[in-house]
C-alpha cells in the first residue's frame, strides 16, 4: 500500500509490489470510479482495446464519455430516476 486518500468526495487507494505491479482505485467527479492496473513493462507495446461493449455510444473523437444513465437500486445515489435524469 503506497498511499491512501480517505477524502469524503474523492477517496483513492494506491498499492504497488516491489517489482512494479501496481493497482489504483479512485473515485472521481460525480461518483465515477476509476480502476487502473499497471505491469512493469520494459518495451513500449500496443495494448489492445477492450472487447466488451460499452453501455454508452463510443466512437473516435468523442471527447467526453457520456455519464452512465442506467439506474441501479444498489449503486445509484438518491431516489429512483435521479441518476437517469442526470444524463
Amino acid at each position: 500500500m503506497t498511499a491512501i486518500n480517505n477524502d469524503a468526495e474523492f477517496p483513492a487507494i494506491y498499492a504497488r509490489t516491489r517489482d512494479g505491479f501496481g493497482v489504483r482505485l479512485r473515485i472521481g467527479g460525480k461518483g465515477q470510479a476509476f480502476f487502473q492496473v499497471d505491469t512493469p513493462c520494459v518495451r513500449e507495446s500496443e495494448v489492445a482495446d477492450s472487447t466488451s461493449r460499452a453501455t454508452a455510444p463510443l466512437y473516435d473523437g468523442v471527447e467526453f464519455i457520456p455519464r452512465p444513465n442506467i439506474h441501479s437500486d444498489f449503486w445509484s445515489a438518491g431516489a429512483p430516476g435521479v441518476a437517469a435524469s442526470r444524463s
Binding site: 503506497t2 498511499a3 491512501i4 486518500n5 480517505n6 477524502d7 468526495e9 474523492f10 483513492a12 494506491y14 504497488r16 501496481g22 489504483r24 479512485r26 472521481g28 467527479g29 465515477q32 476509476f34 487502473q36 499497471d38 460499452a54 463510443l58 466512437y59 473516435d60 473523437g61 468523442v62 471527447e63 467526453f64 464519455i65
Partner: protein
C-alpha cells in the same frame, strides 16, 4: 500587370495609366483567390476530420490502407492550395493597397494643377503661365515648363534668377507626379516577381521541398506586405486588447493574417485558442519545410521534435481522450512549443506546466513532456471534465552542454525571462477563456519551478493563477509559500525522497557535493548551479520544508540514487507518471481540477 511587362524600367508607366488602374479589380481577384483558399481549407478539414477517421470504422481490407494514403495526399494538396492561394490573395491586396496610395498622391498633384490652371502633359511635365514681376523691368515673368524628378532633393535650384512664382509650384507638382509614377512602377515590379514565384512543382505530391518553397513564398509576401498588414498587429497591447482587436476584424482580414503571419498570430497571447491552433498547424508545416533544407544538428533535433508533434496532431483522439491544441510553435533559441490537451478557452480549469533543466524542442520533449500534460489532463478530467492541461515550452531553459560556468551565470536570468513570458501567456489564457474567472494552475518542474517562482515576483503574481504546484524543485527563489501571492494553502509541493535535486537547497553541502560527484556531470552541474562560487542558497528555502509552509503531497521515494549497480536520477522524473507514481500524478491532477484542498497531505521535511 499595371502597364505590361516592361514597367520594371519605370519609364513605361505614365501618370495617365497609373490614374486609370482599377484597383477594385485587383481586390476582386484577391477575393477570388481568398475564396479558393477557404474552399481548400474546408476540403482539407473534411478529409482529415470526417473522411479519414471514419475509414477504419466502415471499411476493411487492404483497400483501406491505399485509400487512407490517397486521402492523406489529397489533404496535403488542399493544405498547400490553401497556403499558396492565401498568399496570392494578400499579394494582390497589398499591391492594390500600394497602388491606391500612389493614385492618391497623383490625384492630389493633378487637383492642385487644375486649381492653378497649370497643364500636366503626358510625359509628366507641367506648363505654367506668366506671373510675378521681373527684378529689373517689373514685367510679369514668362511662363514655362517644369519636368519632374523622382527624387527632388537631388537637384538644387539656382538662386541667381528671380523666379516666376508659378515655377516653384509647377516644379512641386511635376515632382509629385514623377514620384507617384516611380513608386507605383517599383511596386509593380516587386509584386510581379513575387507573383511569378508563387507556383507549385509539377505533380500531385507535396514533398518537403514544396513546403520549403512555401516558407520562402510566405517570407517574400510578408516582406512586401509589411506596411499593409504587419504594422497593425498589436504586439504591444495587453492580451485583453489583442482579443478585442481580433474580435473587431472582418473575416477577410482574419484570413489574410492567418495566411501571411501564422507565426505571429499563432503565438500572440490573448488570441482565441482555436485561432492559435489553426495558425500554428500551418506554421508547423512551414517550419518543417524550412528546417528540412538544413543539415546542422540543431535543425535536425528540432525537426525531429516538430515531426513528432505533427504526428500526434494527426492522430484522431480515441473516445474520452482530450483533443490537442497547438498554442505556440517556433524554432528560435532552443525552440518553442506550447501544446494544450483540452480546449483552454472553454475549460473551467486550465493548468500550464513549465518544464526545466535541459528541456528543449527535441524528440524527448515532444514525447515525454507532452505526455506529462496529457496525463495530467486525463487524471484531472476524472475529477472535473472541464479541464485543459498545457505543456509550456515558451522559454530557453538552461542546457547542461552550455557548460557549468555559463549555466551558473545564466542561472536566474533565464528564469526571469521565462517568468515574464509565462506571465504573458497566462494572462492571455485568462483573457481568452470563456468563463469569467477560470480556475488556473501553474505547475513547475525542476528549474521550471524556479521560472514559476520568478513569474510570481513580477507585478502582483502570475495573472489569473489560483494554485501553484512545484515538483522536483531545487528551490524557487523565495523563502515562504505566501510570497507566491496565491495564499500558502494554494501552494503544493511534491518532493521525492530520492530526488537529489530537491535536496539542493538544504544546507548539508558536504552531502550535496558527494551526491554531485556520484551523479557525474549532471549532478556536479546541479550542485554548481545552486552554489556558484560558494555564495550560498540562491534558489532559496527548500519548498518541501516546514519553514516554507506549503502543502506537501505524497510522492513515491523513487529509485535510490545509487542502487542496482548504477547511478539513477529517475526519482526526479516520475511525479507526473501515472504508472510509476500514480499517487503524485493524481495529487497534481486534483489541484488542477480545483480540488487542491482534498489532496492528501504529507508531513514536511
Amino acid at each position: 500587370m499595371v502597364s505590361g511587362g516592361s514597367a520594371a524600367a519605370g519609364s513605361a508607366l505614365t501618370w495617365a495609366a497609373l490614374r486609370e488602374v482599377k484597383c477594385a479589380e485587383l481586390e476582386d481577384a484577391a477575393d477570388g483567390w481568398g475564396r479558393v483558399s477557404n474552399r481548400a481549407d474546408a476540403a482539407r478539414d473534411r478529409i482529415e476530420g470526417q473522411l479519414l477517421p471514419g475509414m477504419h470504422d466502415t471499411q476493411k481490407g487492404e483497400a483501406v490502407g491505399a485509400a487512407v494514403g490517397r486521402l492523406r495526399r489529397l489533404g496535403a494538396n488542399f493544405q498547400y492550395i490553401y497556403t499558396e492561394c492565401g498568399l496570392l490573395r494578400t499579394t494582390l491586396n497589398s499591391l492594390a493597397h500600394e497602388i491606391k496610395a500612389q493614385q492618391r498622391v497623383l490625384q492630389g498633384a493633378l487637383d492642385d494643377a487644375a486649381a492653378l490652371r497649370f497643364t500636366v502633359h503626358a510625359d509628366g511635365s507641367v506648363t505654367y503661365p506668366a506671373a510675378g514681376e521681373g527684378l529689373v523691368d517689373g514685367k510679369s515673368l514668362a511662363g514655362g515648363t517644369a519636368s519632374g524628378v523622382p527624387n527632388p532633393g537631388m537637384v538644387t535650384p539656382s538662386g541667381l534668377v528671380a523666379p516666376n512664382p508659378n515655377a516653384g509650384k509647377a516644379q512641386d507638382i511635376a515632382d509629385r507626379v514623377a514620384q507617384a509614377v516611380r513608386t507605383a512602377a517599383d511596386a509593380d515590379w516587386r509584386y510581379a516577381r513575387i507573383l511569378r514565384a508563387l507556383k507549385a512543382q509539377e505533380g500531385l505530391g507535396v514533398p518537403a521541398a514544396t513546403w520549403k518553397d512555401a516558407a520562402a513564398d510566405a517570407a517574400a509576401v510578408r516582406q512586401a506586405a509589411g506596411s499593409y498588414l504587419r504594422n497593425a498587429i498589436p504586439h504591444d497591447a495587453s492580451p485583453a486588447e489583442r482579443k478585442a482587436w481580433w474580435a473587431g476584424l472582418t473575416d477577410e482580414q482574419r484570413e489574410e493574417y492567418l495566411a501571411v503571419y501564422p507565426d505571429r498570430i499563432g503565438n500572440l497571447d490573448g488570441i482565441p485558442a482555436l485561432v492559435r491552433d489553426a495558425a500554428n498547424r500551418d506554421n508547423l508545416q512551414l517550419l518543417m519545410g524550412k528546417l528540412e533544407g538544413r543539415d546542422d544538428g540543431d535543425s535536425a533535433t528540432k525537426l525531429a521534435a516538430l515531426r513528432e508533434i505533427d504526428r500526434q496532431l494527426r492522430v484522431v483522439p480515441g473516445a474520452g481522450e482530450p483533443p490537442m491544441y497547438l498554442l505556440g510553435i517556433g524554432d528560435q533559441g532552443n525552440g518553442r512549443a506550447i501544446v494544450s490537451y483540452g480546449n483552454p478557452d472553454t475549460a473551467r480549469n486550465v493548468a500550464a506546466y513549465v518544464p526545466g533543466l535541459n528541456t528543449s524542442l527535441d524528440e524527448e520533449f515532444a514525447k515525454g513532456d507532452l505526455k506529462r500534460a496529457r496525463d495530467t489532463a486525463m487524471a484531472a478530467r476524472e475529477i472535473d471534465e472541464s479541464t485543459a492541461a498545457i505543456a509550456w515550452l515558451g522559454y530557453d531553459a538552461p542546457q547542461s552542454p552550455d557548460g557549468m560556468s555559463s549555466l551558473a551565470v545564466a542561472g536566474t536570468e533565464r528564469a526571469e525571462n521565462g517568468g515574464q513570458a509565462f506571465r504573458g501567456f497566462m494572462s492571455g489564457l485568462a483573457a481568452s477563456n470563456d468563463h469569467g474567472d477560470p480556475h488556473m494552475t501553474a505547475i513547475g518542474h525542476s528549474y521550471g519551478s524556479r521560472t514559476v517562482g520568478a513569474a510570481t515576483q513580477q507585478g502582483d503574481g502570475i495573472p489569473g493563477v489560483d494554485d501553484i504546484v512545484l515538483v522536483g524543485s531545487p528551490g524557487i527563489g523565495v523563502d515562504r509559500a505566501e510570497d507566491l501571492k496565491v495564499g500558502r494553502d494554494h501552494v503544493f509541493v511534491g518532493a521525492a525522497e530520492n530526488d537529489v535535486v530537491t535536496h539542493l537547497p538544504s544546507k548539508e553541502r558536504g552531502l550535496l557535493e558527494a551526491a554531485g560527484r556520484a551523479l557525474g556531470p549532471a549532478g556536479a552541474l546541479a550542485v554548481d548551479m545552486v552554489h556558484p562560487r560558494g555564495e550560498g542558497l540562491w534558489f532559496g528555502e527548500d519548498p518541501a520544508s516546514e519553514e516554507f509552509g506549503a502543502r506537501r503531497f505524497a510522492a513515491d521515494p523513487g529509485p535510490p540514487v545509487v542502487g542496482l549497480g548504477r547511478v539513477s536520477i529517475d526519482a526526479h522524473s516520475q511525479y507526473f507518471d501515472p504508472k510509476l507514481d500514480s499517487a503524485s500524478a493524481d495529487s497534481i491532477a486534483m489541484v488542477v481540477a480545483g480540488a487542491g484542498h482534498r489532496v492528501k497531505q504529507e508531513s514536511a521535511r
